[in-house]
Symmetry: C2
Subunit: 739 residues, 2 copies
């Protein structure tokens, strides 16, 4: 591939980007597209509904870019949560490190590469890209010092930036962010998770309900801190009962037009799972209440359903504690001598709970994890087929030998440029679209307790997949087509990589154009949602904005994507520095566009509290060490023992740095600090806010409200206040609602 | 090697063993050897001091064997602690599993091997040992089914035994053992560790002592459970002060013959670290007390030294809590957002504390760990030199080619038998004697907080070393001499092992004779201590029994040794079943002899609470899987696809079993269970034993008593009672003793 092919590829993508950006800036102003481009805002604020028709709506503008640029980190934190801030920090980090790398490599390494061999240079347009890579440097050249120096600078800067960035948001500024979060969350019921412990695998005691066993255990062993608990029920059964209850209530309101006076208590016997109408009179014995499945208390429009049937209980419950510290103590301790019973973990936030996986027996989980791990590995190897095919395209001479009938077509320069420069990465990008749903499926089979946990697990799987299948296989299979046995000899991999990376630089550049630039433009355009919206509004004639479409930010696809570019950037930096300006442009664009998307499009449904950062940290260190190992290989090939000798201590230091960071930072992401928790508890105690929090706790985790779509909107607004009135919090819990 | 050579080797070792056993049974009856053979009993009970001279003393007897046989597990628990019980269980497990393996393999596999090929068998004495291995089975033979069946039986039995044995001592019987331990420990001050947390890396606050900072932190964040604390001081400084104090006290008692009336308060200024005599009058201000280094309260013969000098403090302290549960909570929590500060861990038992490593800064530890890991790896590879040399000896033809002058000597049959059958394992055994001290040194550099922790770490290192250098290198380098590059291709290792194991069976048999049988006899004889005792008593004419010689049981050498035999047993079982009876005899002997040694020789200085069991469990599963992989290789070589096919699910099932055990048992060995702790706390609370325990706590951890050998004996007896009188426990702690 030569400069001209590169420019063709860049040109196509730039044209596409400009087109999509222009379209976006126009389309976003059309009221019908609001749900597509301002989903988050629509959900939170009531926007002006009908603009007057004006010409301004059809003039492309760049105001959204300026708006995104001006948004501060605090606003992002308020709007998108800590996860969004962490994601922005990844991009800022990338911009910083690759700015420095670009300056050094463009002004020091690139000239060394270009004038590395004594040769007659062609005119720039026809110059092969290989001339700009380290492959062009004479063997044994003293100028390899430049590469070594660049490597040192990049490594040191990366480590320093990484250290201060990790220190930044989580350690030194932790308190301030915690405080921000507290101020932000105090009004909302979302920090209920701090007081809540998810207990799984409650042992079965004959003749006792799980609820009873649990209450006995926690009142015995945590008497001073146990507040209340809430059982989890089999979700299928819950759904069935919900449907019946709906029917029942409709029937009841048909019988009596005034729902209030009838006071419909719907009782069901556990054997039939059906409803009967009982009379209005108060129950005398407890027995009948014990078998009630739903209790419908009917203030206008608000129906609070409380499920209470021992036979439908899973051995899983949310247990509420009186302080944050007590809750964390309960999660950190091993409860009994059998670690498979009474398993406690920090509960996810209420909106984050994945109810469907809670009913899966805890004992299955380790088997499920092994099974999905194996399945993911098999999937990765199956995926080698399209990747190997893609790599065939970059080597046209081999392709035209295999398919002689293509030879005429491929001789045309333009076609040649398109096929070598553009087609491979398009195919790769398209086939990569199948990966996130598959990995999400695997992660769902693992039965994580929270949506954010599922996303994080999928993120890790996609990341491994991307690094293996996009990076390694492309590099290695591209250099020697169909040489899949390259993995058999572990020792040769650095040398193979050192040989392959410079030759594969052109592929990675086109990958940056297609998957990077155009990918961003597509992200901005939200093509899929846009088309769906068009179909719905102009073909199905349904003008209502559907809030179902609103999505959470897809961290599981975007984090691996950005990290892949970081990996490409590092490994190409001193080998083929020409890629760096393009990559830097990508990161800058990504910074603005993702900011815009977080502000306008994606809902913050749940927040993992920045748990993506360790993944980012580890991957960055991995990329850096890989780069150093490849450099070692290259210096070996180029006969520069001095440069090799200087690279080895660099690798050792980087590994030591990584180990230090593991010691220094990892525990913070796994356990909350006692000091912070106790301080928060005391603050709440002094402010007399505990009563409030306890009230909120009792209704925070509601399996029924979340599984039923119809009941939610009505409840979402008034839930907290109504419950505070109906359930006394200081007295003993009501038998029907909390045991 | 043929049967005759094997019998020569067995004969030499049996003769040696009988000789040593006879010697032992006589020597143990001599009063002068009591300290060698009854060290533990001497330390605990006062034995009859002077037997009358009788002939009985010089008649060999087997009474000790019968005594050992009759000792129950409860007695072992009382005498040797849980570690000794666990060690005995390893041997019982080995006896059980290899009895079953021996029966199956001797009656099913051995005949199949012997008649595997149609050949004229020589007379039994001249038969090569190879005839008894799987190497003699025809390729593609249907009889390989026998091997596959034996493998299945052994695997299933092992897993079942392992499961029930692990369940046994720690899960189902845990309560009873816990209760036994409690009854056993209640009278002694050893369970202080349950209430104590070791805090490291206390941050330095300008103008405040570490002690003050610590008190502030724990009274703020654990106000209801914090009891007291005790700073750790720099051990070198403590030793120096101790010596000076001794001098000082001698000087004082020289000045006044009545130590009581002088009431010697020895004060020292922090700058000079020397002592001055102060007057008897009580101090008015706190300042002078602040700088006191020693406070010597002199009831007769008992001197309690309390060190209190801020300048000498390490940022390390033992913090005492009011309940066991509170202490464990403090160890499980991350204290602040900086995981490198306020590091808490469960304190070891007082006798178990390794004071010298407590003063090492916590921040160094991870570097030290990496350094020792690297050093241990380097050591392992350096050790390949003697191992390779040893293997040369087993192949005499090659040796006589290298050294032609030996040819005449080696032609003699007897020399040949000795050199091939005996010398290799003697050299190996001797050079292996350097390993435990080296590994112990490495483990000491890691700065573990307890002696048992150091021993466990050394045990792991020695185990890895043994498996790599004794097992793998012997097997692989023996088959093809000096072929050290065999490790380069990982995939071929199973095949290489499958080829090598049957040919190396003879080496392992002689290893069982020398290192196993004779090693046990040497262990029984305590040769080193015996010679030292002889020299001391009959050359130096010192008839006093020195208690310094009494050692704790060397788990770090004996556990890996037994596990190596387990590994050899498993991997040879279906390949070369002839080894099994010899091995079984070894385990049986080991069971009796180690029981005898635990009863009579070794002191229980500290107890890790059975923490060796996970190592044993994992190694056994590793051995089993390795055996299965080797069997897979052998079945491959022997062209038996059906047997190979049946082995693969076995491997998968064993790995799943191992993973299940990891889930089911590992947490129990890492964290204590809340239920057990709270129950114990309540029991103590109901029995009003807390006051007693608190009193004991305040003097349990004494750095000075332990570092000074001269003060210990006097204190050991009367410490607890005296302290209970001198220090009030319910009131505020004395300023000088506890801050």
């Amino acid at each position: 591939m030569d400069i001209a092919a590169l420019l063709t590829s860049a040109g196509i993508n730039i044209a596409l980007c400009v087109l999509l950006f222009t379209l976006y800036s126009v389309l976003r102003k059309q009221p019908s597209n609001r749900i597509v481009y301002f989903g988050r805002r629509l959900a939170s604020v009531q926007l002006r509904s009908n603009d007057p028709f004006s010409l301004e709506r059809f003039v492309p503008s760049t105001s959204w870019l300026i708006k995104a640029w001006e948004t501060t980190e605090d606003e992002i934190l308020t709007v998108g949560g800590l996860d969004a801030v962490v994601f922005q920090r990844i991009l800022i980090f990338s911009i910083r490190i690759f700015s420095i790398a670009a300056v050094i490599c463009m002004f020091l390494v690139l000239p060394v590469n270009y004038y590395g061999k004594e040769m007659a240079h062609k005119r720039l347009g026809a110059e092969s890209l290989d001339v700009f890579t380290i492959g062009n440097v004479q063997e044994g050249s003293v100028w390899l010092w430049a590469h070594c120096l660049a490597l040192y600078t990049i490594s040191c800067t990366t480590c320093a930036l990484l250290y201060f960035l990790t220190i930044g948001p989580f350690i030194q500024e932790y308190k301030s962010i915690t405080k921000m979060r507290l101020t932000h969350l105090r009004g909302s019921p979302t920090n209920s998770s701090h007081f809540t412990v998810l207990v799984r695998s409650i042992p079965f005691v004959p003749g006792e309900s799980y609820s009873h066993t649990l209450k006995k255990f926690f009142t015995t062993y945590y008497p001073s801190n146990y507040l209340a608990h809430q059982m989890v029920h089999h979700s299928g059964v819950v759904q069935k009962l919900m449907d019946e209850a709906e029917k029942m209530c409709k029937m009841l309101s048909a019988v009596s037009s005034d729902g209030r006076s009838l006071k419909p208590f719907c009782f069901c016997t556990s054997s039939t799972l059906s409803f009967h109408i009982l009379s209005d009179q108060p129950e005398s014995g407890d027995e009948s209440i014990r078998y009630s499945d739903f209790e419908i208390a009917p203030p206008d429009n608000v129906r609070i359903l409380t499920l209470h049937a021992p036979v439908l209980e899973c051995p899983v419950a949310f247990v509420f504690f009186k302080t944050r510290f007590a809750a964390v103590v309960a999660t950190q301790m091993l409860q009994t001598t059998n670690p498979m019973l009474w398993v406690t973990e920090q509960a996810p936030e209420p909106h984050d709970v994945l109810w469907s996986s809670l009913s899966i027996p805890y004992k299955q989980l380790w088997l499920r994890k092994i099974a999905t791990l194996l399945a993911a590995i098999v999937f990765m190897f199956l995926f080698l087929v399209p990747v190997t095919f893609v790599q065939g395209l970059t080597q046209l001479d081999k392709l035209s030998k295999t398919f002689p009938f293509l030879r005429g077509l491929l001789k045309k320069d333009y076609i040649n440029h398109v096929v070598t420069g553009y087609l491979p990465s398009v195919i790769l990008t398209l086939s990569l679209y199948t990966v996130p749903p598959t990995m999400m499926l695997f992660s769902a089979i693992e039965a994580p307790i929270s949506r954010s946990g599922r996303k994080k697990s999928a993120c890790l799987k996609i990341l491994y997949f991307t690094i293996l299948n996009v990076f390694f296989v492309n590099v290695l299979s591209g250099s020697v087509i169909s040489q899949l046995s390259v993995f058999s000899s572990v020792r040769d991999i650095p040398l193979e990589l050192a040989k392959a990376i410079p030759t594969q630089a052109s592929f990675f550049m086109t990958y940056v154009f297609t998957s990077g630039w155009t990918g961003l433009a597509c992200e901005l355009m939200q093509l899929f949602t846009f088309v769906c919206n068009l179909v719905k509004k102009f073909i199905l004639r349904n003008y209502e904005d559907a809030h179902d479409w609103l999505m959470a930010f897809p961290y599981h696809t975007e984090v691996p994507r950005v990290l892949l570019f970081v990996l490409i950037g590092f490994s190409c930096s001193i080998m083929a520095p020409l890629i760096l300006p393009f990559l830097l442009f990508y990161f800058f664009m990504a910074y603005l566009i993702y900011k815009n998307q977080i502000l306008n499009v994606y809902l913050k449904k749940y927040d993992s509290g920045g748990l993506f950062w360790p993944i980012v940290h580890n991957t960055t260190v991995f990329s850096l060490v890989l780069t150093q190992i490849i450099a070692l290989g290259v210096f070996g090939i180029k006969d520069s023992p001095v440069a090799s000798g200087f690279t080895i201590p660099l690798i050792v230091c980087t590994l030591l740095f990584s180990e230090y960071c593991r010691q220094r930072f990892q525990p913070v992401f796994k356990k909350p600090a006692a000091q912070v928790l106790i301080d928060m508890d005391r603050e709440d105690e002094n402010g007399d806010r505990f009563e409030d929090i306890y009230n909120r706790l009792r209704t925070a985790y509601c399996q029924i409200q979340l599984t039923s779509h119809e009941l939610r909107p009505g409840l979402a607004v008034t839930r907290v206040n109504d419950v505070a009135e109906t359930i006394p919090c200081s007295g003993g819990p009501k038998p029907g609602s909390f045991l």
